[in-house]
Symmetry: C2
Subunit: 276 residues, 2 copies
């Protein structure tokens, strides 16, 4: 299979650099083909701005979404952007590897998404009506592909626990995993997160490396996070709120995870309604 | 009072540009002094990298936190970074204004935080022991200052509701409001969020503008979000999980909000223990 690693750390001789090299080797040994977008090494242009659209009318008001859609549809994108889009088309799985900086991805990786995720490519795709609110959240350009985060954090695992001061790691990563990966159709695997990574010794490095290895071995078999698809009945459209009979006791990010028991009951409810 | 607006939109003739101009005017009319960091207009360097530290040993391994701490402590920072830090010292309140791109701030603003929030300035501050885990989450360089987000979104308010498909807006913004603003000591006001902002007409613009005006008028009187301070007894240190008797039924981001009833009960519990 084809695996793209989008990697965002400025120092190749870092822990992240070692884990990246390990990941490439492990995946290739398993018979996969690997490409790495090493954003710092590529000197990736981070900022989405009007310079991304050299053929635009320089006096016109700059609307990033409209400009992006026009450039994407007409082959007028910058080459660095088009090349990354080609890698995404090629990949069967995408790994995003980064250190957690201020509880999110480094700016250089955020800028990769802003520039590569063109309108018509990663959003603004598909029928947009009161029955179908775009091909998104479970549909879209990347349907059938897998994605997984590989994240290093300086803080302790307990700091990111259900009652940890930073907030639960799954909630911190929800805007990325659900909002940036599931949105254009990826099946998102549970993240690989390594904690307390400042100044680790060889023994702990070996433990982290081996744990990552197991996750990489399961890249195409591990069950994805069971987010709810947008257009298959769970949400009222266009309000895009969960229907009243779906997990009625749940709010927040967790409400968007399918719960097998709840799903079964909702199906039963609907069958009952149909019988009545 | 002194107000700093950090503004991240590429087009001055946009809705965001109009709201920014309005905010400056409204604040100045109220007698405040305003500075604007217009990141796109400043051609802000987004990416934190080794070029930020021109006096470093170019052959040494690049550790961003260590390098940042050294440069901050020894007056070796780049001038653009030092200038933004001076603005933060000067400000009594900081407004961060941006469009929500992929459920977070634009990369250019994320990069502003990564570069301006030096080690020793916004993190790595204060005693670090098993009694006091750094001056953070309620203490730190910005204690006594206020901060507020001004956010525009294309999506509808219902999409960001408690059961909306994007997740609740307060949870989406938690890593910013709690993790980037409360962390170094800001009192964080509830955000001003304007929804469905694509192609709005004059009447809706007037409504949004007036609502923003009211929030700006209350900038120094509105009650901040009641996050729990880290070092005043609510958390076990160093695990940094909420103590078992504090809001025992709560998990997730919401657990870090002080609940007056819960706080009273916890105080009563502790008094009871002392009596026993």
């Amino acid at each position: 299979m084809n695996v793209l690693i989008v990697y965002a750390h400025p120092e190749p001789r870092s822990l992240n650099g070692s884990l990246r090299n390990f990941a490439v080797q492990r995946l290739e040994q398993a018979g996969h083909t690997v490409q790495v977008s090493d954003l710092y090494a590529m000197n990736w242009k981070t900022t989405l701005d009007a310079h991304d659209f050299p053929s635009r009318d320089a006096d016109a008001r700059f609307n990033p979404a409209a400009e992006s859609g026009h450039a994407y549809a007409n082959g007028l994108q910058r080459e660095d952007v088009a090349r990354e889009q080609d890698k995404l088309r090629w990949a069967d799985a995408v790994l995003l590897q980064f250190p957690l900086w201020w509880f999110s991805m480094p700016a250089i990786l955020k800028g990769w998404f802003e520039r590569v995720y063109a309108y018509g490519f990663a959003y603004g795709v598909g029928e947009h009506s009161n029955q179908h609110w775009g091909d998104r959240y479970g549909e879209g350009m990347f349907a059938g592909k897998r994605a997984m985060l590989i994240v290093t954090a300086g803080g302790w695992e307990s700091h990111y626990a259900q009652r940890g001061i930073n907030g639960p790691i799954d909630d911190i990563l929800f805007p990325i995993q659900h909002g940036m990966l599931y949105y254009p159709g990826f099946d998102v695997l549970p993240p690989f997160v390594a904690y307390r990574m400042n100044g680790i010794d060889d023994a702990r490095y070996a433990t982290v490396r081996d744990a990552l290895g197991e996750r990489l071995d399961a890249l195409f078999t591990h069950a994805p996070i069971p987010y709810r698809p947008q257009n298959r009945g769970a949400y009222d459209i266009p309000a895009l709120t969960l229907k009243a009979d779906i997990a009625p006791e749940k709010t927040g990010f967790a409400a968007h995870l399918q719960d097998q028991i709840t799903a079964d009951r909702a199906a039963t409810d609907r069958v009952t309604e149909e019988v009545e």
